[in-house]
């Protein structure tokens, strides 16, 4: 009798030990899998960010990848294999991309000097439709031609635009972004009524003349934004409602780089003996100082042109340049 009791207890202890050991290892390998995925994506973005161009990131399995502001995550928050990693990259994307591939495109943002590399990410379940009118069709087609083919972009004239034409694609889509260059008569609700199923819809109305836009989210709420350069306009299109956060990160980098140029010019002034160069550099330094604190879109563009002109002037006089 004693032997049986003893054997049962000892067996149960051993069995529970092995079961807990296996469970711990299974959980560990799941966590490792999620972490490996975010490191893999971060590394790929690093490698791609060295140059400019498009690429396709093949994941070995179907993954849900989140590109929130300043972080990359893999999996759902409540899952065992959820992993998150902070990143310094400026990423414009739909936020959450699900599938086995991620389409990537990188461009350097220059304003007027190189500031940071923009990463644009999408997948085949995110569709973008650029709607142009007769006044801006050339500009819009130029914009669209620069985008790699795998990023799911389509262009259509405003007179031919009918949301029902996209209802077939909408069945398989996670998100549709309609970008109207000029104002539009369409609301998010009206477009969603043309679609079957629960596809997410965002509308962006871009005014190319003044570099501003209105973003209408899936519920029709409006956000007014501006952009600095075509690179940022692409970011606006790719990220939609996530644009402001990514733009703020880009502006943070912009201020850091501007501060570096500001300090650099101060030092260059101490190294030059030519009074013309000294004056030009001093003027450049004052511009950079002001550039650091501007907030309005018009001032950004104003100082962008001033600094670009100043740098050209320094080059023509064979002085040390700002950038």
């Amino acid at each position: 009798m004693f032997k049986w009791i003893f054997g049962t207890i000892a067996g149960a202890v051993l069995l529970s030990f092995f079961v807990s050991f296996s469970v711990t290892h299974l959980e560990g390998s799941k966590v490792l899998e999620g972490n490996k995925m975010v490191v893999f994506i971060d590394d790929k973005l690093d490698a791609l960010g060295l140059g400019e161009g498009g690429n396709v990131l093949e994941l070995e399995d179907e993954f849900l990848i989140g590109f929130e502001c300043g972080s990359i995550s893999a999996g759902e928050w409540e899952d065992d294999n959820y992993a998150e990693r902070s990143t310094d990259k400026v990423i414009f994307s739909a936020g959450r991309l699900e599938g086995e591939t991620i389409n990537m495109w990188t461009q350097k943002w220059e304003f007027p000097y190189r500031v940071v590399t923009f990463n644009y990410l999408s997948n085949l379940k995110n569709y973008y439709v650029l709607v142009h009118d007769s006044d801006n069709s050339d500009d819009v087609l130029d914009l669209a031609n620069n985008i790699p083919n795998n990023m799911n972009f389509q262009t259509v004239g405003s007179s031919d635009f009918n949301p029902s034409d996209f209802s077939g694609q909408a069945k398989y889509a996670d998100k549709f972004t309609f970008v109207f260059f000029g104002s539009s008569d369409y609301t998010v609700k009206r477009i969603k009524n043309s679609f079957y199923g629960d596809v997410k819809v965002e509308i962006i109305e871009v005014n190319l003349n003044v570099n501003t836009a209105k973003i209408y989210n899936n519920y029709g709420d409006i956000e007014d934004v501006f952009y600095l350069g075509d690179e940022m306009l692409y970011g606006l299109i790719f990220s939609g409602t996530g644009y402001t956060c990514a733009k703020d990160r880009a502006m943070e980098r912009f201020r850091t780089i501007t501060q570096i140029y500001n300090y650099k010019v101060q030092r260059l002034m101490g190294k030059t003996n030519d009074p013309d160069c000294l004056n030009l550099l001093n003027e450049g330094r004052r511009m950079l100082n002001t550039f650091l604190s501007v907030n309005s879109k018009s001032e950004f563009y104003n100082y962008f042109e001033k600094i670009e002109r100043q740098n050209r002037g320094l080059r023509e006089k064979s002085c040390s340049t700002i950038y």
């Binding site: 032997k3 003893f6 310094d88 190189r114």
Partner: protein, 177 residues
């Protein structure tokens, strides 16, 4: 001793030996796993440093306007900015030491290890009075690092001159979270 007692003693002895073997196995397994993870950590740290090597050359904070060289005129401003926002740069670079050196034209042996700082910069004989710029260093535990390096084109905007330089990254075996 009764026969029953002998059986119980034998059983306890067998279980005890099995437990000892089990404990030795588990301890051995954990030690092996720990060593494996340490070596993986080292590998990943080296991979991160290699990526950082390529990234640092192209880092907009340090690169020339056209991106084909590293702007030596930005080193001291970068260090100043770094001091103002250390937390952010620590999250970008992690536990590393990033050093740029001029290697050609060859500098006088006495200045090779002299750090280029503001005091050296304002001298007339700059850049021949110092040999290296430590643009970033974070090693709170004073760990011993492994070094990787690459050749770079260094540009002095003050003299509109290009020289051959070397970027060295010391990485410490702690992976950035």
């Amino acid at each position: 001793m009764k026969k029953g007692q002998v059986h119980v003693t034998e059983t306890i002895l067998v279980v005890f030996i099995v437990l000892i073997i089990l404990i030795i196995g588990v301890v051995g397994y954990y030690r092996f796993s720990f060593e494996k993870n340490k070596s993986l950590e080292g590998e990943l740290s080296e991979r991160a440093a290699t990526i950082m090597l390529a990234k640092a050359v192209n880092l907009d904070e340090l690169a020339c306007g056209d991106g084909d060289c590293v702007d030596a005129g930005k080193f001291l401003p970068f260090r100043r900015v770094l001091g103002e926002d250390l937390g952010r740069f620590r999250s970008i670079f992690g536990r590393k030491k990033i050093v740029f050196r001029q290697i050609y034209p060859v500098l006088d042996g006495s200045v090779l290890e002299v750090e280029c700082d503001t005091a050296n910069y304002i001298q007339m004989d700059y850049p021949n009075n110092c040999g290296k710029w430590t643009v970033y260093e974070f090693n709170p535990d004073n760990e011993y690092g492994s070094k990787i390096s690459t050749i770079v084109s260094l540009y002095y905007p003050e003299f509109d001159r290009y020289v051959v330089g070397r970027l060295e990254i010391d990485h410490y075996d702690t992976i950035r979270k």
